[in-house]
């Protein structure tokens, strides 16, 4: 699995357009109008980037990113059968991190990825009901229309959440 050099989240030099913090997600997370649920599309120049941005799309659906500080980090490794399943399972793991462990994430960094495995670090802090404002409950990351694909130089992902 190709590895990326580890650096503090937000500190690594990248292209101007590459943003990996939830507070900036509005710039690259595009809502998909869905009657019952919440859908979004993201684009990035790299596979790592599109996974990071999809994660932040989920993050801003869960909670108000401005209120979350990057106090600690969590590392996760996810394996799946194909790229779409990998995105599903990655986002599902992040959802559980928030809902089961009560850890809200603000930044995300994919440190290694290939077709069937992703390693990522997320930065955030434990949920504090006095400070954090949660949005509606995300029930699940659905498989409906779930896609990760490359078109030319751009990676795109599409995600529909059951809320």
């Amino acid at each position: 699995m190709p590895n990326r050099q580890r650096a503090p989240i937000g500190s690594r030099a990248r292209g101007e357009d590459f943003v990996q913090h939830a507070r900036d997600a509005a710039r690259f997370v595009h809502e998909v109008a869905h009657t019952a649920d919440v859908g979004f599309e993201v684009e990035a120049p790299t596979l790592e980037g599109v996974f990071e941005r999809a994660a932040l799309g989920l993050g801003r659906t869960i909670a108000d990113a401005d209120e979350i500080a990057a106090r600690s980090r969590r590392t996760m490794t996810i394996r799946a059968d194909d790229r779409a399943a990998l995105l599903h399972d990655f986002l599902h793991a992040l959802l559980l991190l928030a809902q089961v462990e009560g850890f809200l994430f603000e930044g995300v960094e994919v440190t290694a990825i290939d077709e069937g495995c992703i390693r990522a670090e997320v930065a955030g802090e434990p949920l504090d009901p006095a400070r954090h404002h949660l949005h509606g409950e995300v029930k699940a990351v659905t498989w409906h229309g779930l896609a990760v694909e490359r078109r030319g130089d751009t990676w795109r992902a599409r995600v529909i959440l059951d809320v």
Partner: protein, 478 residues
């Protein structure tokens, strides 16, 4: 897509491509005008591709775009040759609605609406990840919740034994196996029994505004001017995870079973395959969790009423009219092509509506038909219906489940921008208590079809009859 009108409010999508059966849509002409452009009908045609599907894939008049199945979709598959798909049930397994009667006049409730709203809001946990209605379940209690459903909650002092008879399946789906539920699912549900959640879930105090069928209403203990309570919630995090786990397993197993589907959310396996049986056992356990959840909230709501009105339980007269599931699959017998056949009916945002005389109905309502509860949006009417004979011949004993969304959540928020939402609802005579203003914006009446139009279609189609119309007085939301 070709759509033919085959009845006053019935439309058919003929079988084409990989569809195994035609699809049928219940809708008025004006509803169909909007629906023609809705992805829900494409999803319905995909449902018609499921192996073993019999009769028609069906959409009720509240149908709208979902994930995999359309919301408001119904599919019956042969119990021996058919498949089970968790996407045809949904993440919120046994999401459902219950209606409770009281002996109070609605005017008495309206006189103390703020105090009662505050008390209910403080008593029934609501909102994202809400928890703590009862102590965190011990391993033993967790098994009992999953095996016994509503009965567990009654043994714990929430509601009364008579409530069980007025739940579909007695508030307990048989075949539940707690060991088929993953540890992750248990953890997600462990502290959530007796909690409302967020989104479109609610607890409402309502006024019975109009009785349309006096005889049936009297038999159900309902009369005009009475205060009633409606609760809409499901299996919380436990159910979501059971669905997620099963989709993962089935996504892989499909290839082994030689099945392909047009949408991965429709992942399915033969009902009789080990993965299918394991899911049915886990789904039943999650359904039981949902019944326990609604039963605990019933007890909590009753306590809030007792406290505010300072009366005893007999004077309050809290009692369950009926509890229905609208996200579940059940093995049932129906007549297909003139012969009785055992089928597994998937109802995703649709309600069982067995007609009068059906043997599974409890004696107290058997002569009437199954009570069906249709929640409206929080500013408009909800309805009490009865399943009709037509549902047994036309729709696998099924009718609609609610108003059905009209706008996306983003559109609804935009429409509510700058509007005093709480004030707008107060103008309609509705007192709201909610954890999230954003949640209120997404659930405003303009985001929904009018449930009255939906109910009008199912009654004209002969799937149900109208008993009573209820109007919200207090709305508690996450």
């Amino acid at each position: 897509m070709e759509i033919r009108r085959v009845g006053e409010v019935v439309w058919e999508i003929p079988r084409t491509g990989a569809m195994r059966v035609p699809a049928r849509v219940y809708a008025s002409e004006s509803q169909m005008g909007t629906l023609r452009l809705d992805p829900a009908l494409v999803q319905l045609a995909q449902v018609a591709e499921l192996p073993g599907i019999v009769g028609h894939a069906m959409a009720m008049p509240d149908v709208h775009w979902g994930y995999g199945f359309p919301i408001g979709g119904v599919a019956a598959v042969d119990a021996d040759d058919g498949v089970i798909t968790p996407g045809g049930i949904g993440f919120d397994i046994n999401c459902g609605v219950r209606l409770l009667r009281t002996r109070l006049e609605a005017t008495a409730v309206e006189a103390v609406r703020d105090r009662l709203a505050d008390r209910l809001f403080a008593t029934v946990p609501a909102g994202v990840g809400s928890s703590g209605a009862v102590r965190t379940l011990s391993a033993r209690d967790e098994r009992r919740v999953l095996e016994r459903g509503a009965a567990w909650a009654i043994e714990e002092g929430f509601g009364r034994a008579a409530d069980l008879e007025h739940c579909e399946d007695g508030g307990r789906l048989r075949g539940a196996d707690p060991d088929a539920v993953s540890e992750t699912a248990r953890v997600r549900g462990r502290s959530q029994v007796g909690t409302l959640g967020s989104g479109n879930h609610f607890l409402e105090v309502q006024r019975v505004e109009r009785v349309h069928d006096v005889r049936a209403a009297a038999a159900l203990g309902i009369e005009e001017g009475q205060a009633a309570v409606m609760i809409h919630s499901g299996s919380r995090g436990l159910g979501y995870q059971v669905c997620d786990d099963a989709l993962r397993v089935m996504d892989r197993a499909m290839r082994r079973h030689g099945i392909s589907v047009p949408d991965r959310q429709l992942a399915c396996v033969p009902l009789r395959a080990p993965e299918g049986e394991a899911y049915l056992a886990a789904m039943a356990a999650a359904a039981n969790f949902a019944w326990a959840n609604r039963q605990v909230m019933t007890g909590l709501a009753e306590r809030a009423f007792l406290e505010v009105f300072g009366v005893g339980p007999a004077t309050l007269g809290f009692g369950l009219v009926y509890d229905v599931c609208h996200n579940v699959a059940k093995l049932e017998e129906h007549v297909v092509g003139g012969s009785p056949r055992r089928v597994c009916v998937h109802r995703k945002g649709a309600t069982r509506a067995f007609g009068p005389g059906h043997p599974v109905l409890p004696p107290s309502v058997r002569h009437l038909g199954q009570p069906v509860i249709i929640p409206g949006d929080m500013g408009r009417h909800s309805f009490l219906l009865l399943g009709a004979a037509g549902a047994m011949t036309e729709s696998f004993g099924t009718t609609c489940h609610g108003a059905g969304r009209l706008m996306s959540r983003a559109q609804a928020k935009k429409a509510g921008h700058g509007v005093d939402l709480i004030g707008a609802l107060a103008e309609r005579g509705v007192t709201v208590r909610a954890r999230s203003l954003r949640g209120i914006a997404e659930e405003m009446p303009w985001a929904y079809k009018d449930a009255a139009e939906v109910v009008d279609v199912v009654t004209r189609a002969g799937l149900a009859t109208l008993v009573a119309r209820l109007r919200p007085v207090i709305v508690i939301k996450g």
